[in-house]
Subunit: 262 residues, 2 copies
């Protein structure tokens, strides 16, 4: 399967520290060596920067160059891939991207779907993954239901219904963003940590690397990180419940459907 990583923040924030940790799991500290991707938006959420490569993230000089970029965003999504369906190829690397209703939408998936609802043809996959097909299906559903890109409640309900349906077809942990909000669904496994003042020293679990967030943040900063497995050693990562879905804006949970554990 794969590992997911995402960020939601109330001030444009880079994902470098977390992406460095995730990257090492792409072939070094773990075996997710079949590709990687990073989607990040401009601070205004309008323009998307997307990097993907079908090479082990841990040893890729391109991933190293991307990890060093100063990409500050309110929303970012990253992914490292261990192929279960579809060959090792660029078109099968997450995050996937489509332009929908004038916005840049990205999607990343951890899991494995046994079957998929049929596609009407409005959005077609380029590659062979169940994940990209699921993304195309989600966009078709939003279009069919006439959901407005501005209707946050309607979008959350529609994304939740799609995710529940997909989770019934196999393993579905999913991330969706349009640059202004981040939707996350935990079918089986997803962790969350929110950083806010007082900030302190944080150490990566996968490398001897620490950052003193107090030195690089403002007291008003709020940053939430989502990750398949906790990325840092001492912070209190919260596991999302099975079936839990959240909508994040500016680092805070603005909508939530509890999971089965509550």
């Amino acid at each position: 399967m794969c590992e997911l990583l995402a960020l939601s923040a109330n001030t444009p924030t880079d994902l470098r520290f977390s992406f460095h940790g995730l990257r090492l799991r792409g072939g070094s500290t773990s075996d997710h060596a079949d590709g990687w991707g990073l989607a990040s938006y401009d601070p205004d959420g309008q323009r998307l920067h997307l990097y993907r490569e079908d090479a082990p993230a841990a040893f890729s000089p391109v991933a190293a160059a991307v990890a060093a970029l100063d990409l500050r965003a309110h929303c970012s999504i990253a992914h490292i891939r261990k192929a279960t369906r579809g060959v090792v190829a660029l078109e099968n690397c997450h995050p996937f991207h489509r332009r929908w209703r004038g916005q840049e939408w990205v999607f990343a998936h951890n899991g494995d779907l046994q079957t998929l609802p049929p596609l009407a043809g409005g959005h077609r996959p380029i590659g062979q993954t169940d994940s990209e097909a699921a993304f195309c299906w989600i966009l078709e559903q939003l279009e069919r239901q006439g959901v407005s890109a501005q209707d946050e409640a309607g979008l959350f309900a529609a994304l939740l219904a799609c995710s529940d349906r997909l989770a019934g077809e196999g393993i579905f942990n999913g991330l969706v963003s349009n640059g202004s909000w981040l939707f996350a669904y935990a079918g089986t496994k997803l962790h969350r940590v929110t950083r806010r003042a007082p900030f302190g020293l944080v150490r990566l679990a996968d490398d001897d690397l620490s950052v003193d967030f107090a030195a690089v943040t403002q007291p008003s900063d709020v940053v939430t990180i989502l990750s398949t497995e906790p990325l840092t050693a001492e912070e209190s990562w919260q596991p999302l419940q099975v079936g839990e879905a959240i909508l994040l804006k500016a680092g805070e949970i603005v909508r939530r459907r509890p999971g089965r554990g509550e």
Copy 2:
């Protein structure tokens, strides 16, 4: 508009030297600063490596990392973009890629098409460019005509007919590859140089950089480079005639339709 670069060689050859020169035109020695892309295949032509970014190639650390990769291929296509149609965004960066009949097809375009033949829907563009739509239309035509991916004569004839049609709609200089051959069409401007023994010192036109190809080649090597504008100072680049089309395999022209100048 844009600048095109492509390589066809009889031994897996990297495009580093030429890509370095092209890259400088992406914002430094020229103003093609709206994105860049490089498509290269594994030596067996089966697997595609594709890198694209919506940033000026000349100043991008990611482009620098890609330029340093040892990507040796029989076919490669690169592109730097100056947006005429479609916003500055990743989905509008060339080369475009689709999987067709089990092969990885890539396409890059220099020009501007005023109108486009209608698409039946078999292949849909992700972005907004005339170029990606033209690529989708070309693949639809090949499919509609039942051209076999193994029939080289049929493919050349079909790609030529498509290119003639597109050249009638505006400016069309196009490159297509499936990893084993490279098709090139010069609607207005494309240059070609073929390097073979005896190899010598070659100097970039856009930078103070030379390579002694005698030191990095075998006497049997044949490498053809296509480029919108000549990339080196002393070599004898041949302009393709207006309307000229060629099919390259292993560095040699295996099929050709003369242009209007002959």
